[in-house]
Symmetry: C2
Subunit: 585 residues, 2 copies
């Protein structure tokens, strides 16, 4: 039972049948067809040799199939992780060099260790640091950056850069190297992909195919573009006419090897590995949950951390780059009818076959074709209306989203996402730094107390009752100090302050220090501090502290009890506003 | 009225009288006597020439007197800020060099700009990032580090280092340079200060002095040690016997000059300036609030940001290092009877007189005397029992405190405080990442609903009502998704989920996305999502979103209304647990 929790494979393998194998196998074939060009393209996007993409699509998929809780999630190289990899490795080594590839393996292994560690320690909540607006702004910006980075390949220009400005400058400076043949082919593939996305499915259905089959064939349109342009490049010898091709891809399976253990490299890559892990995890879980829900299945986020982590560790020891769950391939996997994680393992088998047999023809694949494929694929990541929607719903969230988006576009991926996280946290602290609280008075003739600003209630100028409506912790503790001291400074005749704590679920050490400060400052000012309606668990903790003994006043069970004791006791003559209402008990 | 808010001086100066001047003047004389040696000592602690301490005690004090809201706070060089300054400048230039002094001015100006900016933008809440346990652990560690850094001066050894290990290693390596005369003098002053702290006050009272006068004289004990040891050093020519003296201090007032505007230096010092500003602000406000409360006065934290910021800007343009409000000098100022901020301005005048007349004798002041003074002064910062107290009260807070303390001691001040802040935030997110929520059922025969785990209530296997007990925002939004999906996976016959939102004050954009995800996933699973008891302001915002239109179910005013509609409508035969209770309406 416990072993099955750690290795979900043991659960689903027991009931495995031949017909399930047929469905998983079909899904694997379709996903493999889609994955071969994507694996090459995302490796090139990350500045890595194309075979790294194939290597990242073998062992990691098998490990995820063994450990993952999602039957559908298609793990492997993905666009955003590749962009982040390129950015992380930019300062470390020359793209394409052996050190660069070595650093990519370290990045994968480091991401894997982070994810497994977070899973074992059940730290999945750390992904909460990435709020939806930050992720959304970041993914949109990444999509735009990736599309911009591929423009050069379509134009036949060798461009570079890690933000929009650098890319635009580089494109402009190298404009003389534009290659007409490449441009025609790139635009042709782009147009074909756009048109097939819009019209192919309905056309196929009109030809008599079922909806499902037509949908899958449409998704496989890039494969036909890959085949046709590869044949063209080979037949017309386009490589000699200046068209950039993928070039020699070493055939065969990757060798297993430990990544470099150089500690300097590890510590340099650590921040990037944290971001890649968290972004990959958040995106994977979101895809997996959405697809699992369609079949009323559940995924376990902490187990997903371990499975994705092991997949990345696998990439690190088998020549691959960081991997994560891909959105489009997972959807295809789902639509093609994958039933168990075995579909993923079979996909790995398919990629292995491709690596053993297809590398020679793939050398003739034009890079412009891959660029057009990537541009069309990442266009689904770009969600500009979400900006307007988020800004309209909440200005604070809109600011965090826009800041992430703009910084990612014009500064770089790491700065962008970190600024977004810092801003989200800052805005959250700001929102919670002023806890709801209200000075309350007694509803005449009852035991109820209500906000003095909103209701006609009895008050007493020698007594102030402050109802605290939230848990007290470091972000709002100082505001409470300010609020109470302001109350006392405003009401010179005051001699009792009661904090009514019915909504306080927690008082952390900072808030305890603030209560101690409030107590001693009030004592210095000749005012007594009382508490009322303190919840059981909160009171249990307070009982063990010095504060409980130093508290100048009492702890009342109810606000009414506090009112009766302090109001009657201190003011037997029924003066002030109370006498005026005539409702004193 | 508005002008008075920005320049509080205009308020208190109107009613100023001769007798107030006498009281402020007396306080200023006593604080000046205390400040002269402290100013020299803290400048040396920061690795700066002694006169920088004097310069930091003139213009900054005048500016604070003009703008501050505390009548008592004694601004100037303080121990913790000096330690942080030394740490920030360590990598920038050689201690004592002109570049080092220049960088200190930049640090002061940068801190000043940060504080003024935060004040104008009313960003004082950012200080909430520093929780009490983090500040407390950091201040204790700083006290220990400062004391350790002064041991070398007492032993006559030239030691250095920015953490305990480095300091211990340096002391050990230089042990041969120990100077006996310095050691005797250092230990002598130390013992005198400790003994005077314990016995002088009661002795003076026994001699017939009043409590207040005896207290002030006791606080001035370091002054007598300074005078006696300076005379000894001068008379016995101790400088030639290897006793380190303060040495030549340029007399006169500081020249006004812009600090360096080199952008590299500014960006290097920015992180340190942020930390110095925040720590200084938090400590100053805490001292000022404690002392203000004793006279039932109030300080305005946002105006304090501006006043402390202008004081630091003043330090930056008049040759001074970063300043902040000092605890011990503020207490003396209070006890000596300071009534208005003019006491601070008069202290600046006193320091100016000292800079014009006392620099020659001060050159003979032994550094061992200053070291003993510092050690005794910072011993009040060290609060080791607080560690035990905090750990006993809350393990999470204890962990944050210990991590800050240990990292500050053994790694460095900046790493220590940043780790503490990160840990506090992480622990806070962890605590709030799982919002209180409960599946509720109907209390038979009533319109009340209670937790199914704690009460005997009616439930319906086709309907699940989840009461959400907290506001929904990015840190807990994903947990809600998990909770709802787990609920549905557990209860196969379910066809309605109701979220009862009576405790939800806020739904941020992340939580809105989560609600949308929950809605569409439930729809895919054939389950309808309803809301109940949504508060007015929350509903107003939801009304403008797509979610409102995509919601598969209804928004009910009350949980009971939801129960009646869904329970009756879906199950006219009264099957299941409801029929068993026999209380169906």
């Amino acid at each position: 039972m416990t072993l099955e929790r750690w290795i979900p494979l043991l659960g689903w393998l027991k009931g495995y049948r031949a017909e399930t194998l047929a469905r998983d196998g079909l899904a694997a074939v379709i996903v493999t067809l889609m994955l071969v060009p994507q694996a090459l393209a995302y490796a090139l996007l990350a500045g890595l040799p194309p075979e790294v993409g194939l290597y990242a699509s073998m062992l990691p998929l098998v490990l995820y199939a063994l450990l993952g809780t999602s039957a559908i999630l298609a793990v492997g190289p993905v666009a955003v992780a590749s962009l982040m990899t390129a950015s992380a490795l930019a300062g470390v080594a020359e793209p394409g060099s052996a050190e660069y590839v070595g650093a990519a393996l370290v990045l994968a292994a480091l991401s894997g260790l982070m994810l497994v560690g977070m899973g074992v320690l059940r730290l999945g909540f750390l992904a909460n640091f990435l709020s939806h607006p930050v992720i959304s702004g970041f993914v949109t910006a990444s999509g735009l950056l990736i599309a911009a980075s591929q423009l050069g390949h379509i134009l036949g220009i060798e461009a570079s850069g890690h933000n929009l400005l650098e890319m635009a400058t580089s494109l402009f400076e190298q404009r003389d190297t534009l290659n007409g043949v490449t441009l025609v082919m790139g635009l042709g593939v782009w147009a074909y992909l756009l048109l097939s996305r819009r019209y192919l499915k309905s056309g196929l259905i009109r030809l008599g195919l079922t909806n499902a089959v037509a949908g899958l064939l449409t998704r496989a349109a890039p494969v036909s573009a890959v085949i046709v342009t590869t044949l063209l490049a080979w037949g017309l010898n386009l490589g000699e006419r200046g068209v950039a091709l993928v070039g020699e891809v070493p055939g065969g399976l990757p060798a297993l090897a430990m990544p470099s253990l150089e500690s300097d490299l590890w510590s340099t890559l650590l921040p990037a590995a944290v971001l890649i892990s968290l972004v990959g995890f958040v995106e994977s879980v979101s895809v997996a949950q959405t697809l699992a829900a369609k079949r009323r299945q559940r995924i376990d986020p902490n187990q997903e951390l371990i499975a994705l982590g092991m997949a990345n560790l696998g990439a690190g020891v088998s020549g691959g780059a960081p991997v994560s769950g891909g959105f489009s391939r997972s959807v295809v996997n789902f639509e093609a009818g994958a039933v168990t994680p075995l579909a993923g393992a079979l996909t790995a088998l398919g990629i292995g076959v491709a690596a053993l047999t297809l590398t020679e023809p793939l050398a003739f694949l034009p890079r412009a074709t891959l660029a057009a494929t990537i541009i069309v694929a990442v266009s689904t990541l770009i969600d500009l209306p979400a900006i307007k929607r988020t800004c309209a719903y909440s200005r604070a969230d809109g600011v965090a989203m826009l800041a992430t988006l703009l910084l990612t576009l014009f500064h770089g991926v790491e700065g962008g996402i970190l600024a977004g996280v810092a801003l989200s946290l800052g805005l959250h602290l700001y929102r919670t730094s002023q806890p709801h609280s209200a000075v309350v008075g007694r509803v005449p003739g009852t035991e109820h107390f209500r906000n003095v600003r909103r209701h006609e209630v009895e008050t007493d100028e020698r007594l102030s009752i402050l109802r605290v409506d939230e848990s007290l912790y470091f972000a709002n503790a100082r505001y409470l100090e300010d609020t109470v001291m302001a109350l006392v400074a405003r009401q010179p005749g005051i001699s009792h302050v009661v904090l009514a704590c019915q909504a306080v679920n927690l008082i952390d050490a900072s808030a305890l220090e603030s209560l101690e400060a409030i107590n001693s400052r009030l004592r210095d000012a000749g005012v007594t501090l009382h508490l009322a309606e303190v919840k059981g668990p909160v009171m249990d903790r307070l009982e063990q502290t010095d504060f409980r003994h130093e508290l100048t006043g009492q702890v009342f069970l109810s606000t009414y009890e506090a009112w009766s004791a302090l109001h009657e006791g201190s003011q037997p003559a029924h003066g002030g506003s109370v006498a005026a209402t005539g409702f004193d008990p």
